[in-house]
């Protein structure tokens, strides 16, 4: 079974983003970029499936500018066998990404797609579900446990009330939540080896995907900031502030 993994290049999760002074977008110039943390988890799961003999090949795919090659090399250092860059200079919307993945699923005869549940930049939480809909395949979103058995995958999902387990017929699309696993770190020899692994480049047109823009970004603003807090010295003072000043208890 071949596994396709989504790898998105995003701002490093530790970095607090700045809004451009002309409010046209956020400023990502000279910002530290990284693999989306949820993609790291998705990739780790795919690599473990390969180590367990369940997956035969792990293919990392990124839709983005040529800079995304950096994250694809990182994915190969972490265990992906090869990588595909769907190169575009435009901002790829979730539906465009899903359409590209749908084509690749078909071309590569994929049994399982592992994606992150959410991009930490656009906070969309859409691609996996859209891909499942486009391909008519079942989905297991927000996964905290994934067990592949024969032609099925059993997925435990994090839902609002706790956990829900579903069983899906393969091929299926699974999106990783935070507690699915703890991703490993790449070792130096693997980083060296990754440089020689194949990285193919394609684009929307070659995949036969027509890109129709759904959203226009009109402006980006800094959210209202809370004014600085009041330090209290004791529990008694806290209680009286909450009672008399804030009137919340």
């Amino acid at each position: 079974m071949k596994v396709l993994v989504g790898v998105k290049r995003v701002i490093d999760y530790n970095v607090k983003v700045r809004v451009k002074s002309d409010n046209t977008d956020v400023d990502l110039a000279n910002t530290k970029m990284a693999m989306n943390p949820f993609c790291e988890i998705a990739l780790e799961e795919a690599v473990r499936l390969k180590e367990a003999g369940v997956a035969t090949e792990v293919i990392a795919v990124s839709v983005g500018t040529s800079a995304s090659q950096e994250q694809l090399r990182a994915a190969m250092a972490l265990g992906a066998d090869r990588a595909i860059l769907v190169e575009t200079d435009e901002v790829a919307e979730p539906l465009h990404v899903a359409k590209a993945f749908a084509k690749l699923m078909e071309q590569e005869d994929i049994g399982l797609v592992m994606l992150g549940k959410q991009s930490i930049d656009s906070d969309n939480n859409q691609v996996g579900q859209m891909l499942a809909a486009l391909t008519g395949r079942p989905q297991g979103t927000f996964a905290s446990k994934v067990v592949v058995e024969g032609e099925q995958v059993t997925v435990t999902r994090e839902i609002d009330g706790g956990l829900r387990t579903v069983r899906l017929a393969l091929p299926a699309i699974v999106t990783a939540d935070l507690r699915l696993n703890e991703p490993r770190f790449a070792k130096l020899p693997d980083i060296m080896k990754a440089k020689r692994k194949p990285l193919a480049t394609t684009n929307f047109a070659d995949l036969g995907v027509t890109v129709k823009q759904s959203m226009r970004l009109d402006r980006v603003d800094v959210p209202s900031v809370r004014s600085g807090g009041v330090k209290v010295e004791s529990v008694d003072e806290l209680i009286s502030k909450l009672k008399d000043e804030a009137k919340v208890i």
Binding site: A133, G162, T165, A169, G229, D236, L238
Partner: protein
């Protein structure tokens, strides 16, 4: 303009988040139909018909909708979508699962987690963990939208008199089967609907120590929340995580104990009306968003608070 609003409910009650999404739908304008989907939802449909501004209630009742699996729920919504310009739902784990499918099947984009309605096609939504607010215009002929309930006041659950109509439920896909639920049972208020939230982080130290926070929560009639670190460490269950990738809360009072205040956590609670933080680290970033903060050991503060409240 016509909106199909997907209700959130638990089989007995319409969830408060539905009323917040109803406000967003009212701001979009036009007629509003509310869809109640599930296995046994007659009682919920009656409540829905009372909601202010709802013209029509559509009831889809079938065993295949018991768990509102995304494959089945999205097929149902698609079977109705033709009549509507907007398909709107409060953001929750069911709609996050199903709505992007609806959008893809309609070949349109989705606006996730809107926090403001500027016009029928222009909306605001937080990006980068809430560190920026995007204003976006949908260029599609249909809008598929999930609503961040915490950002909208609740519409009135009274005063309406909608017609109630049953709709046909498409056959389930059969590709996905429910196996089991492991739900957290609690007498406390629901985290996303509570007026008060008491939250603990890694600093709480253990599952056993969380009992202290539970006592405080019970004193205050508050819901219990947690940081990711507390959930990862197994102190509490996953459904208590507050943050960018957990639940978004905006209670009257949010009390954080032993939480450092990472941007991912702040993304989930910084719209609370009053924030209290207790942390022994003078430089804890959470103090920058706290209205009142105490630099102290939470194990000293909690027993005293519980006693004196």
């Amino acid at each position: 303009m016509t909106t199909l609003l997907i209700a959130e409910h638990n089989g007995q009650q319409l969830a408060p988040a539905t009323l917040s999404a109803l406000t967003a739908a009212q701001q979009i304008g036009g007629d509003i139909a509310m869809l109640i989907a599930g296995a046994e939802v007659t009682a919920v449909a009656e409540q829905a018909a009372q909601c202010a501004g709802v013209a029509q209630v559509l009831v889809a009742q079938d065993d295949s909708l018991r768990y509102e699996l995304a494959e089945n729920l999205s097929a149902l919504i698609i079977s109705l979508a033709g009549d509507y310009s907007h398909i709107v739902a409060p953001s929750n784990s069911i709609t996050k699962d199903a709505m992007p499918r609806v959008a893809a099947l309609l070949d349109v984009g989705q606006l996730s987690d809107i926090t403001g309605v500027l016009s029928a096609t222009q909306f605001q939504r937080p990006i980068y963990a809430g560190n920026a607010i995007a204003t976006v215009t949908s260029l599609d002929d249909k809008q598929v939208i999930t609503v961040r309930a915490a950002s909208f006041a609740k519409a009135s659950a009274q005063g309406g008199s909608a017609t109630v109509t049953s709709v046909a439920v498409p056959a389930g896909s059969g590709l996905s089967t429910w196996v089991a639920d492991e739900l957290t049972v609690s007498e406390r208020p629901q985290l996303t609907a509570a007026d008060r939230v008491v939250s603990g982080g890694r600093g709480v130290g253990s599952k056993e120590n969380f009992a202290l926070l539970e006592s405080l929560a019970d004193k205050l009639g508050a819901a219990l929340g947690a940081s990711r670190a507390a959930v990862d460490a197994g102190f509490v269950s996953n459904d208590m995580q507050v943050g960018q990738t957990g639940k978004i809360v905006a209670p009257e009072l949010y009390m954080a104990f032993g939480i450092s205040g990472a941007i991912q956590h702040l993304a989930g609670m910084k719209d609370a009306k009053v924030i209290v933080a207790v942390n022994k680290d003078e430089d804890a970033p959470i103090f920058q968003v706290a209205d009142y903060y105490l630099v102290a050991d939470l194990f000293d503060v909690l027993p005293e608070l519980i006693e004196k409240l």
